[in-house]
């Protein structure tokens, strides 16, 4: 089927719900409206309102009730309308979803996939464009996944729904309808915890994911540089092995993400490269990210999100060393 990311996620949900009758979708407007981005469009007609549940407008209980459902035999897929609103359920995610398994020494588990749109680039209102992947990866216990294309979105979601763990599935709104891809009609898995080489090269490793993956790809193509471009796909657990293998070969590492620069995924990756591949580096590690300040109103969006120029300049700089 030729589809965009919205179609791919919808298809993964439908096939997974057919395969596993324990899967229940819940959230604000996920029923008749099909979610504000129409990702769950049509599913309530196919599976009924007992498996596609419109909830009261209350994020903490959407996640909290999902945890209870997961603990007692269902496989819930809560949708939080925007990542900015998910902060109201951070207590449930980090105090409970992340800890139930270890708190009971694996006698209980929370099989659940939390879906939420992330990142900007589509001129939305405040709080609709955040990139919170580092926050949810920090303490451990929650698997954090972020696809950058329709093929990965479908395969990662199918895999996530077959796991006995809480998975945070971040969907970049900018990529929902940006492009279509030919993807298999049937079910297939994309491994979780495994990064993907989008491109192979010799002079430089660029680690990226989410909204920045297509931008990086385009810049590298245009500049005609010989670079490994690695799409993380999974933020936590991090595929350290793939990153180190590439960096040790190319000797240069650039990390590109839309989330804020400070204390982020780029910092984590830089630290690991510095700890384990320092003497194989020919240049200092570099990061391209949004500035260390909260995502602005849509008017200032283009001044905030890293663009091709910023990435291109970083590439020139790291290759000049």
């Amino acid at each position: 089927m030729k589809t965009n990311m919205v179609g791919a996620i919808n298809n993964a949900l439908e096939l997974s719900m057919k395969e596993n009758d324990k899967i229940v979708l819940l959230g604000e407007d996920v029923g008749k409206d099909g979610g504000v981005f129409r990702v769950t469009e049509g599913l309530v007609d196919k599976f009924g309102s007992e498996r596609v549940v419109d909830t009261p407008l209350a994020e903490s209980s959407i996640i909290g009730a999902s945890i209870g459902m997961a603990l007692s035999g269902l496989h819930p897929v809560p949708e939080i309308q925007f990542a900015g609103f998910m902060l109201l359920s951070v207590s449930q995610l980090l105090n409970h979803a992340a800890r139930y398994r270890t708190r009971t020494r694996s006698t209980m588990s929370v099989p659940m996939v939390v879906r939420t749109p992330v990142s900007g680039g589509i001129k939305t209102l405040e709080h609709h464009s955040d990139s919170p992947e580092a926050l949810y990866s920090h303490i451990g216990g929650i698997i954090v996944v972020e696809p950058s294309n329709p093929y990965d979105a479908k395969g990662l979601l199918i895999k996530a729904l077959r796991m006995d763990d809480p998975v945070l599935f971040l969907e970049p709104t900018k990529l929902y309808r940006l492009f279509k891809q030919d993807i298999p009609d049937e079910m297939y898995e994309v491994p979780i915890g495994k990064a993907n080489y989008m491109r192979h090269g010799n002079d430089l490793t660029i680690v990226t994911y989410g909204t920045m993956a297509p931008v990086v790809q385009e810049v590298v193509e245009k500049k005609n540089v010989s670079a490994d471009v690695i799409d993380l796909r999974t933020i936590n657990p991090l595929d350290e092995q793939t990153i180190l293998e590439s960096v040790k070969r190319t000797g240069r590492a650039l990390i590109v993400h839309e989330a804020e620069l400070s204390f982020g995924v780029g910092a984590e990756i830089s630290a690991r490269i510095a700890e384990k591949a320092m003497f194989e580096l020919s240049a200092p590690i570099m990061r391209v990210a949004s500035p260390s300040l909260p995502y602005p109103f849509p008017g200032y969006e283009d001044y905030y999100v890293p663009n091709a120029k910023k990435i291109s300049t970083a590439i020139d700089k790291i290759l000049s060393v």
Binding site: T55, P56, A58, G64, L74, N95, T107, D164
Partner: protein
Amino acid sequence: MKKQVYSGAIDYLQVMDENGNVDMQLMPDMPDSKIVDMYKYMLFARNLDAKTLSLQRQGRAATYAPLIGEEATQIGVASAMRKDDIFVPSFRQHGIYLARGQPLEDYFIYWKGYEDGAKSTKQMNALPVCVPVGTQLPHGAGVAFTQKHFKKDAVTIAFVGDGGTSEGDFYESINFAGVNKLPFIIIIENNQWAISVPRSRQTAAQTLAQKAIAAGIRGVQVDGNDVLAVYKAVSDAIVAAKDGPTVIECLTYRMSMHTTADDPTKYRPDSEVEPWKDKDPLKRVNMYLTAKGLWSSQLEQDTTAQQQKQIDGAVDKAEQFKPDPKGMFETLYSFMPDTLKDEERSAVENNFWM
């Protein structure tokens, strides 16, 4: 135009007064032997509580939240619950775990500070202790969602304190359960104090039970020191659960500290505590059973001695427990990520854990 569009009321229920007199019209249908069993569990809970407090004071247990004074609320609920019903605690309901068959050594391992003690939680049809106040309630609503989804003949019973009813998760949970008509029963163990803040500073509402009204669900207030009233209210709520949730506010009193980390004399006058001694939940049942010839001081002594022996045996077993720090790493996910394996291996290879 102006007209009244809603009016509500909250009933108060007491079956046995503080002198052991029973209102026969409200008396639940049960043999006296069941009341004897309930009394024995209340006694057991009190003995267990005293032992844990003593261990904590000797540095042999972690921070602990005593239950003394609240036995009737806990054992009343436990006695009305059926095996398949799911229990969702806060952090003070040791009496319910006890009545649901928690292996005592696990209880002590848990309160020594090891997650390993929570391994037997699932077999009790319960969730583990929950520390962040009120956050367990959405889990309870979710469990009740599953019960309804699979049409199970079971309910979920979750606990929260008086302070916890100020939390957003309390309102969100009763709202979610009300909308979905879930078989969910919320017990408010109103012991009048949230650490140092009295019930009067939590809310201007006259009762906590009336919060149910705004969620469109049943609410009732009971004498939480009357084990029969609690039993009856919970039994009624279980029957009603097919039509939706109930909030039961149990009026009781925290006779001791919030936890071993605070001193109540700093914020609470003795004159307030004193009258509650007459309302003791065990005393009245003792009087009732003694008057019926079903209990005696000899039986009390023998039962206590037997319970203490069991408790001491469990403490000895728990002292033998050998912690395994690998458990922290190996139970985080359903699989071991390579990066976590590296961290664990580094600790083992360098002998950081000695």
